[in-house]
């Protein structure tokens, strides 16, 4: 395949990286006054990249001599990533303007991170995987500490950086082992070697690679950075971390597990089962005692990643489509919740983050309280709401391959998780109002975004099932 064809495959990345570099220079010369214009252009670039997925970059196949693939799976994941990244850019000015910290570099960093995430879901070689992962992570470390004068934000950035570097090291060590024992860095070469027999060397490589990727999706036992980073980061950045990078890392994990390590299914399945169970249980139990709403959302994301991993355990196309459906609904729920949290400010405009101060929200801001309740019920997976559907799909995929005991344990952990979601709803609606007065909605854009997310996770979301089901199944079939 020639270079022109390869470039056509990676058109979204080309649009985003050229755009990001141009905007970076614009940010340097025009300064922070131009941050609004730069944000608008950045969102337009993301829309352009998403539109380019309709062409060869959506389903064109393998390019760059087997380093990069553009198939249905990567196109679907990229669409989710670009939407989440665009929302993070849109909600940022409302938050940072108040602190006087809106900088023109914010949209640029999100764009660079989006390039990295696009590479992650399109990688079919261990090296392009690593480059994509690092590009995403490096931008994320800076974003976590974006409020430079805030101690917590700086702490979040530093913690994320140190632990992220450790995880990258583990991943790279695993990659070197896989390369050493299989003789190639492409997913195909690894799969061929594993097909011939999974020796100790390949096994160690598999374990280290999965440990590194488990860190990126924040699955237990590699979750310890998540609560601190989510709590300390500025809220728009928390919303970004909880959505786009999760989709990218999950997509990467699914592709590595199925395309590279497919023949070693019995080996990685045990690890996935352990991670899924540990994440759902720890995410549910540890969230109960939390008093900070952003910290609680961190445990909620750990919990949800566990459920998404259940979809990967069967190793079937239906299971993988369950993972994609789960991530789609999950980002709507989590972005919606974090958008609501972004709205919670007292009369002086300071962000309110304690759960106790949410009491009385139903009196002062009934609309916001209703939306928040919808997101909480949906995250808990209560049937009429759309959050139930992806949970049903992943457990259905488990039952399909006869793993019903695991499905039953998973459903039990989902009940434990429902407790703390319902506790928040109780605080909002039934507790005595606290003395915090919430200010009314300032931004119509954010209101509209909350409304769209709430409608999507409400029972109306089931109207999207035929479309979503077909899209995710097509995307997942591309892997097999």
């Amino acid at each position: 395949m020639g270079y022109t064809a390869s470039f056509a495959l990676s058109l979204p990345e080309i649009i985003l990286s050229f755009g990001a570099i141009a905007l970076m220079l614009a940010a340097a010369w025009a300064g922070d006054k131009a941050s609004k214009a730069i944000s608008v252009i950045a969102v337009a670039l993301l829309a352009g990249a998403a539109a380019s997925l309709l062409g060869p970059s959506g389903s064109g196949g393998v390019g760059y001599d087997g380093l990069y693939v553009a198939d249905g799976f990567s196109a679907f994941s990229k669409l989710l990533i670009y939407v989440s990244a665009a929302i993070a850019i849109i909600i940022a000015p409302g938050f940072f303007d108040r602190e006087g910290e809106m900088r023109a570099e914010f949209p640029v960093l999100i764009l660079l991170s989006a390039v990295g995430m696009g590479m992650m879901v399109s990688a079919i070689d261990l090296l392009s995987l690593y480059v994509g992962l690092e590009l995403q992570s490096l931008a994320a470390y800076v974003l976590a500490s974006f409020l430079r004068r805030d101690g917590r934000s700086a702490e979040a950035g530093l913690k994320y950086f140190v632990l992220g570097a450790l995880a990258s090291g583990i991943l790279l060590y695993g990659i070197s082992l896989l390369y050493g024992f299989s003789g190639g860095t492409s997913f195909h070469a690894v799969a061929v070697a594993m097909h011939a027999g999974v020796g100790t060397g390949l096994l160690f490589g598999l374990v280290f690679v999965l440990a590194g990727l488990a860190f990126k999706i924040a699955a237990v036992p590699f979750h310890m950075w998540t609560p601190d980073v989510y709590e300390g980061s500025p809220t728009p950045v928390t919303a970004f971390f909880a959505s786009a990078p999760k989709v990218a890392a999950m997509g990467l994990l699914v592709r590595v597990a199925i395309e590279a390590m497919g023949p070693a299914g019995d080996e990685w399945r045990q690890i996935m089962i352990f991670c899924a169970l540990a994440s759902t249980i720890l995410g549910a139990v540890a969230a109960i005692g939390q008093t900070n709403i952003k910290r609680l959302m961190a445990y909620s994301s750990i919990n949800n990643v566990g459920f998404a991993l259940f979809g990967l355990v069967p190793g079937t196309a239906y299971g993988a489509s369950g993972v994609l459906t789960y991530m789609t609904v999950y980002i709507a729920m989590t972005l919606g919740s974090l958008l609501c949290i972004l709205q919670m400010r007292d009369a002086e405009g300071n962000p309110v983050e304690t759960i106790a101060s949410l009491s009385g929200l139903s009196r002062t801001r009934p609309g916001l309280a209703a939306a928040f309740a919808v997101f909480m019920f949906s995250l808990a997976g209560i049937p009429p709401l759309f959050g139930f559907w992806p949970k049903f799909m992943v457990f259905d995929a488990l039952v399909d391959v006869g793993m019903w005991p695991l499905a039953m344990i998973g459903i039990a952990t989902s009940v434990i998780g429902a407790f703390y979601y319902l506790k928040i709803v109780k605080t909002i609606y039934f507790d005595e109002p606290s003395d915090v007065r919430f200010v009314p909605l300032r931004s119509t854009t954010e209101g509209v975004l909350i409304l769209i997310a709430a409608l999507f996770v409400s029972p109306l979301g089931y109207f999207t099932v035929p479309l979503l089901g077909k899209a995710t199944l097509d995307a997942a079939t591309a892997l097999f």
């Binding site: 570099i21 220079l25 940010a27 280290f208 036992p221 590699f222």
Partner: protein, 125 residues
């Protein structure tokens, strides 16, 4: 029997890596200190000192961030130079593709450098 046990090796290794890394960093320094020395803490021993004197100032002193900026810029260009050597000796084999890839890399680096310059990262005062 051995083959059944071997099937569970991956999960054992995974748990081992998780446990080992998290405990080693916490336990190892404490254990080594306890094993190699006598453990008799006192107020004088626990207080901080500099070369035998009581501390003159807070040890969490603030460094000027400009040192880091210069160090980071140095590392970037140092790596670029290190990257150029293998490229230069293998240019015959990698041909125009390799030449174009390196020119793209250099152009990107140059734009980043222009950004850093404009932002004032190179000015000391």
């Amino acid at each position: 029997m051995a083959s059944v046990a071997a099937q569970y090796l991956p999960i054992l290794l995974f748990l081992g890596v998780a446990l080992l890394l998290s405990t080693a960093f916490v336990v190892l320094p404490i254990a080594v200190a306890r094993l190699t020395g006598a453990h008799k803490p006192s107020t004088d021993k626990l207080s901080e000192y500099e070369c035998g004197f009581p501390a003159f100032e807070d040890s969490r002193m603030q460094f000027d961030v400009r040192f880091y900026l210069v160090a980071i810029l140095f590392i970037i260009f140092d790596l670029e130079a290190a990257f150029l050597y293998p490229w230069a000796v293998s240019l015959r084999e990698i041909g125009w593709t390799g030449w174009l890839a390196m020119m793209g890399f250099l152009a990107e680096l140059l734009l980043g450098f222009a950004y850093a310059w404009k932002k004032g990262a190179l000015e000391w005062e």
